[in-house]
Symmetry: C2
Subunit: 96 residues, 2 copies
């Protein structure tokens, strides 16, 4: 059973473009990782300061490895001062 | 540009199985609708009372039509007494 993830971030309004660019910079490197089956960046239409990554990983090991990659750790550290709250990362399983 | 949707519902603990069955009953009928590109039911691993539909629709018209279908309206009415809060339906656009 693969692991699905919704990772929500809310940026300060005046940091929106900077945050968006930083989140986008994560995508290519992440999609190359072992076990990364889906990694999409969505933006809330009504509240553009809210972004959600919609992800699917082959297993927990692949997700754990992702959290230790240089590009993820770098982005996590850089977004710290851009976000209104820490990222909300929730793991799901597919029901149907 | 297609429309992506995250629709989150949180059920009362003692209504979990009933809610899960009701949400699952929506899936086949919804996937047959015009413009329905993706319609998945996810369950929060840590908090099993929380479900999220992860959806993609061809356009706003397809999504609006979905909200008027008998199966959606029926499920909405039946879940009313099963959920701790009204469903949180958020529209997104894909950034990348």
């Amino acid at each position: 059973m693969t692991i699905r993830v919704l990772a929500k971030v809310i940026t300060f309004p005046d940091k929106l473009e900077e945050t968006k660019a930083l989140l986008m910079s994560l995508i290519e490197a992440t999609r190359q990782e072992n076990g990364c089956l889906r990694y999409e960046l969505w933006q809330n239409q009504e509240k553009p300061t809210e972004f959600s990554f919609v992800e699917e990983w082959a297993d927990q090991a692949a997700l754990d490895a992702h959290f230790q990659t240089p590009h993820f750790l770098d982005a996590l550290q850089k977004t710290e001062k851009l976000l209104m709250s820490s990222p909300e990362i929730v793991l799901y399983q597919l029901i149907k």
